[in-house]
């Protein structure tokens, strides 16, 4: 059982198939899953890029709009009369307080301000003094302007660097920006730039820690106040940082982790993240990254920053230039959130792969169980068949598959085994039959022997009769020859007579009497010749009858030969049926057949010769008839000649010619007689041959009898 040994060493089909199906299902699911995942990842990343870039560009545009709006607002404000009038009023009033201005006015508007610090701007009129009057008149519109344009504060700085007005009256009101404490502030720089250096444009300052706001991050926009080409002072607007923060603090489309930041060229945050309400990211450098700096001088960038403030993020970086300075709008979103759909997808792919694999595994297990049960059923049947148990049933197959075909083949094996058993049984029965057949052949042989002997006896007696007939025919022929010889002599004599007539006719002219006599003589001779011919004719007819009788005998011989031939043929067939046992008999039958054939040939020859004799006899008859006729004509002619000789001697020549013709006729007769003689000789020799043949048939019949005897003995002995 080598196949079983192999099976024992290998995994069974029932396990193999489910494992295979499971493996394929897992492979396919994994393949589709991975392809879907990669495709989806690209899509998700592409969408994230589009979304974040669009947001970044949108924020940049909003920022630019904000900045440009502020710039236009400031330019309009600076050029308007209101600001200049207010500045002039404050500047003039401030001057009236001389060196006590700062102390006096700080006391009135800051220290003694009846409002809490965040509402100090509610103090409009603090007194009747020149500054108070200017303040009462100009503070409200300036404060309202600042409020309306989201400037946290609005300061006026005179040519000495004094902050002569502040809308909110905070710590920087009344100070001189050139003082040591304010040296490094934006205000000091703006004063230097605008008042000392005469810069005519709006100057912007990024937020930085500013002492005037308790070191909070504060940015400024400063512009000169001019009359014509002359700068008379400076207005400083506190930058609307909160507006930028608010503008960038919109998180629509940014999910839970999205964030928008504005970074300056130093990488410092220019806005506070509204995501973290309790922490200010303003001026924080925690968001700086080389990619952002690169983007400021380059262009729009979308990238993944694995460590952006400790977070793995996707970042859209869009550069902005405002007030001559470079910034970058950075929109970021945590990679985990951007790729969150992929995590869900992963779970789905994994779950569907498991479900598919489970279904495939169960299906494979069920199918394999079914298949292996059928296969092992067949295998049992085959084993039983191999062991010789042909009664085993081949299980019926519900489906038409290869196993069903195998079952059909096994069924054929079983049927073949059954057939083999049946054939062996049959062979046993056949040997009895063979013995029975041998007995039958023996009886056939003995029957055949008696029949053949009987027939040969008949052949022998027939051939004896034939021999006798031939001898008789021979005698007749000899007689015919003798008669013919006589006729020949007679015709030769006739010829001589004609010759004589001829010579006599020549002498006709001399004597008609002589001619008449001669003619009479001729007539007599002719009549006797005619009589002789008549006799000859009668004899020849007798010869024809003899020939006819020979022909009958020959026909009998021919019939016997045919019968013999048929017998020999039957014997050959029976010998062939007998197979090996009849081989010797077949040889003898063949020889008998050969003898019969030869006999037939001999009789045919005799027949031919008899026919020829008959033909010759007929010719002799007709020839003799011719002679007879000629004789009567000669008789007529001689009469006519006699008359003619009497009437006209001139006819002598014609008579002579006629005599010549007569002479030729007699010669023909003579020739015919010779022919008859020859034919008679031929008949004689044919009869001789028939005799020989019949003698030969006798001998052959004797041989055949001996041969048949030998054959039958041999058959019987076999």
């Amino acid at each position: 059982m080598p196949s079983r040994a192999i099976l024992e060493n290998s995994v069974k089909v029932a396990a193999k198939l489910p494992a295979l199906v499971l493996g394929i299902a897992l492979l396919c699911s994994a393949g589709v899953g991975i392809a879907s995942y990669i495709s989806s990842a690209n899509t998700v990343k592409g969408q994230a890029e589009q979304r974040l870039m669009a947001l970044a560009e949108s924020r940049r545009d909003s920022l630019l709009e904000l900045y440009h709006g502020k710039q236009r607002t400031i330019e309009g404000h600076v050029q308007g009369k209101t600001l200049r009038a207010a500045y002039s009023a404050f500047d003039a009033a401030w001057a009236k307080y001389k060196d006590k201005a700062s102390a006096t006015l700080t006391k009135i508007y800051v220290t003694d301000n009846p409002h809490p610090i965040e509402e100090r701007d509610q103090l409009v009129k603090a007194g009747r003094k020149p500054y108070d009057k200017a303040h009462a008149k100009h503070h409200t519109p300036l404060r309202d302007f600042a409020d309306a344009n989201n400037f946290p504060d609005l300061l006026l700085v005179n040519m000495n660097g004094d902050v002569i007005y502040s809308a909110r009256k905070l710590a920087d009101f009344g100070v001189n920006v050139q003082a040591e404490a304010w040296q490094n502030t934006a205000l000091a720089d703006a004063y230097k730039t605008i008042v000392a250096d005469g810069n005519g444009a709006v100057v912007a300052y990024d937020p930085e820690h500013y002492p005037g706001r308790d070191n909070e991050a504060t940015g400024f926009l400063a512009a000169p106040i001019t009359v014509g080409s002359k700068t008379i002072g400076m207005v400083v607007y506190e930058a609307p940082t909160s507006e930028v923060t608010t503008l960038l603090g919109k998180f629509a489309g940014l999910g839970e982790t999205g964030e928008t930041l504005l970074l300056n060229a130093d990488g410092l945050a220019m806005n506070d993240s509204l995501r973290t309400a309790d922490v200010s990211e303003l001026l924080s450098d925690q968001f700086n990254a080389p990619e952002i700096s690169a983007s400021m001088s380059g262009g729009n960038t979308f990238t993944r920053l694995p460590d952006f403030n400790g977070q793995d993020v996707f970042a859209a970086i869009v550069p902005v230039t405002a007030f001559g300075q470079k910034y970058a709008v950075v929109v970021v979103q945590a990679a985990s959130e951007v790729l969150a759909p992929l995590t869900t997808l992963q779970i789905w792919i994994f779950a569907s792969a498991i479900v598919c694999a489970l279904i495939a595994g169960v299906f494979g297990l069920v199918t394999a169980r079914g298949l292996s049960a059928r296969i092992s059923g067949l295998s049992d049947v085959m084993n039983k068949l191999a062991g010789g148990d042909t009664k085993v049933d081949v299980p019926a197959q519900a489906t038409r598959d290869e196993i069903a075909e195998m079952a059909a083949s096994v069924r054929v094996f079983r049927e073949n085994a059954l057939e083999r058993e049946r054939l062996e049984q049959e062979q046993k029965e056949t040997s009895f039959e063979t013995a029975r057949q041998a007995d039958a052949v023996a009886s056939l042989i003995s029957d055949f022997r008696s029949e053949v002997t009987e027939m040969l006896d008949a052949v022998y007696s027939n051939s004896e009769q034939m021999r006798t007939a031939a001898e008789e025919l021979n005698g007749v022929a000899d007689e015919t020859a003798g008669e013919a010889s006589n006729a020949s002599s007679a015709s030769e004599a006739a010829s001589t007579n004609v010759q004589t007539v001829a010579s006599a006719s020549e002498e006709l002219s001399a004597s008609i009497q002589e001619i008449r006599r001669q003619v009479q003589s001729t007539t007599d001779i002719v009549q006797s010749a005619t009589q002789a011919a008549m006799q000859t004719n009668t004899k020849i007819e007798g010869l024809a009858e003899s020939a006819q009788r020979i022909g009958d005998v020959v026909n009998l011989i021919s019939a016997i030969a045919e019968q013999t031939n048929l017998l020999a043929l039957n014997a050959t067939i029976e010998a062939a049926r007998a197979g090996e046992a009849g081989r010797g008999f077949a040889v003898v039958a063949s020889e008998v057949k050969e003898l019969a054939t030869q006999t037939a040939k001999a009789t045919e020859e005799i027949e031919g010769q008899i026919t020829e004799v008959q033909a010759a006899t007929k010719e002799a008859v007709s020839a003799i008839a011719g002679i007879t006729e000629t004789m009567s004509q000669v008789d007529e002619y001689t009469g006519t000649i006699a008359a003619a000789v009497e009437q006209q001697g001139a006819a002598t020549n014609e008579i002579s010619g006629n005599v010549q013709d007569a002479a030729r006729g007699t010669q023909d007769v003579a020739q015919t007689i010779i022919t008859i003689s020859e034919k008679a000789q031929v008949t004689s020799s044919s009869a001789g041959q028939v005799l020989n043949a019949s003698t030969d048939v006798n001998a052959r019949t004797t041989d055949l009898r001996e041969t048949v005897d030998r054959f039958l003995k041999a058959v019987a002995a076999a």
Binding site: K81, T82, A85, R128, K137
Partner: protein, 190 residues
């Protein structure tokens, strides 16, 4: 110099007047007959004017000019003793309260005596003596019921359009004019 300024101002008024002069006149007259008259006839005003007329009735023009000059100087200075005296009077406080409670309708209120000198005021005026101006001349001189309405004036710095409405202050006992009161009215808040 001063003449030049006046001339320029007058020209400006003429130019502006054609466009805006009488558009609020009826409303301002109604106001003058209403709330303004009410204040003008209040005891605070009348008592104060009577008292000051007792003091200033003997002032000659030289004295008046000297006081006005002092006032003008103080108005542009940090130290303002004279202005403080006037503005600390009860009438000034009263008027300041009136102005404050007017919701921006009144931008200034000042009361003048029989000489045209300030008696009390809600805010500092540039002059102390108004006797040379139409607001006093056209009211005090015309006696009871007189109303003077100035041309509309636009303040560039405050962007407000206002007109001064002046009425005669009459002694209720005698029915005679004893002074005048001028209200700066922001016509936009009418």
């Amino acid at each position: 110099m001063k003449n030049l300024v006046y001339t320029t101002t007058a020209l400006c008024f003429l130019a502006a007047g054609t466009a805006t002069a009488n558009e609020f006149e009826s409303e301002l007259k109604t106001l003058a007959a209403g709330k303004i008259a009410e204040i003008a006839t209040s005891s605070e005003v009348i008592d104060a004017v009577r008292a000051q007329n007792g003091e200033t009735g003997a002032f000659n023009q030289a004295k008046i000019d000297e006081l006005d000059k002092t006032w003008r100087a103080e108005a542009e200075a940090v130290d303002q003793p004279m202005i403080d005296t006037v503005l600390e009077r009860p009438l000034s406080t009263f008027l300041a309260d009136v102005q404050e409670s007017s919701d921006g309708l009144f931008t200034e209120i000042f009361v003048m005596d029989g000489k045209g000198l300030n008696v009390g005021q809600s805010d500092v005026t540039s002059d102390y003596w108004q006797g040379d101006e139409a607001k006093w001349q056209d009211t005090y001189s015309n006696g009871k019921g007189a109303v003077h309405i100035s041309e509309l004036e636009e303040d560039d710095s405050t962007q407000t359009l206002q007109s001064q409405v002046s009425v005669t202050v009459v002694d209720p006992d005698s029915g005679e004019a004893i002074g005048a009161v001028t209200f700066g009215v922001n016509v936009e808040n009418l």
